[in-house]
């Protein structure tokens, strides 16, 4: 049972990664930015897993698992931060955060 070889997975992964990058750079809602970050991490995961398959090596899978946990952690902190921001009645728009600049 052979499906597409690893390069196809990788291409998907690359596209997904680029979508994530686009999302982070283009979107202004911090929530969607966070979601885009998740997409980037998942793209990486996909790459890791397909490489694990390529090499027949579990390290990649384990790495991917750890990444999931890390992604979850980032989400937790990110959401906490967004909640704190919302509590301060600031507009949820990353473009509005530019007191610090120059």
């Amino acid at each position: 049972m052979r499906g597409p070889d690893v390069s196809w997975y990788l291409i998907v992964s690359a596209i997904l990664f680029s979508i994530g990058v686009l999302g982070v750079i283009l979107r202004r809602s911090p929530l969607i930015v966070l979601l885009s970050l998740e997409i980037m991490l998942n793209a990486a995961n996909l790459a890791l897993i397909s490489f694990a398959r390529l090499h027949g090596d579990h390290d990649g899978q384990i790495f991917a698992l750890a990444v999931m946990a890390v992604a979850a952690s980032e989400v937790v902190v990110g959401l906490g931060l967004i909640v704190a921001v919302a509590r301060r009645k600031l507009v949820l728009d990353v473009d509005r955060f530019r007191v610090l600049r120059g």
Partner: protein
Amino acid sequence: MGDILVWAIWILAAGACLGSGIAVVSFGNPFFSALALIGNLASLAVLFLLASAEFLAAAQVLVYAGAVMVMFLFVIAYLGGRADTPFEGGPTWVSAGAVVAATALLVEIVVVIGLKAGDALSQEADIERSFGSPAEIGRLFLTDHLLAFEITSIVLLVAAIGGVILGTKTRDEDELDRLGESA
């Protein structure tokens, strides 16, 4: 025949994955984006499965699409999913730059993969049936990657503390609010 089925599933999953990914970044409303991400994660789980990562596929669905995204949705709901117009605001060169940069990255990675594809990438290793099974993963976690495992837990712990700290209101904030009201 099996191959074709696998291909078909793969194409479906990959398409769904990319489609939902695009959806995530293009929906105006974060709520829909989050939902799209769930779809994205689920379709990724399928791809994982096809790449012989059963345990990870399961974890993806359970942990990610389940737990994390639920939290996400909860927060979005708490904040009231305010929609914004996607791809607008900020300096215009940012959007152009983003597209250029993302495309460049994509092309580069694809080219790199393409350069490699001829030889190495098609030579998939022969794998055991147990490849990617929970048992294997679990064993490695307790032996070779013990440290990574432990650290993952620490990261989660730290993040949890962070979530708590940031999520709760402090007295400094209270005071600020009072000042705001009196003013």
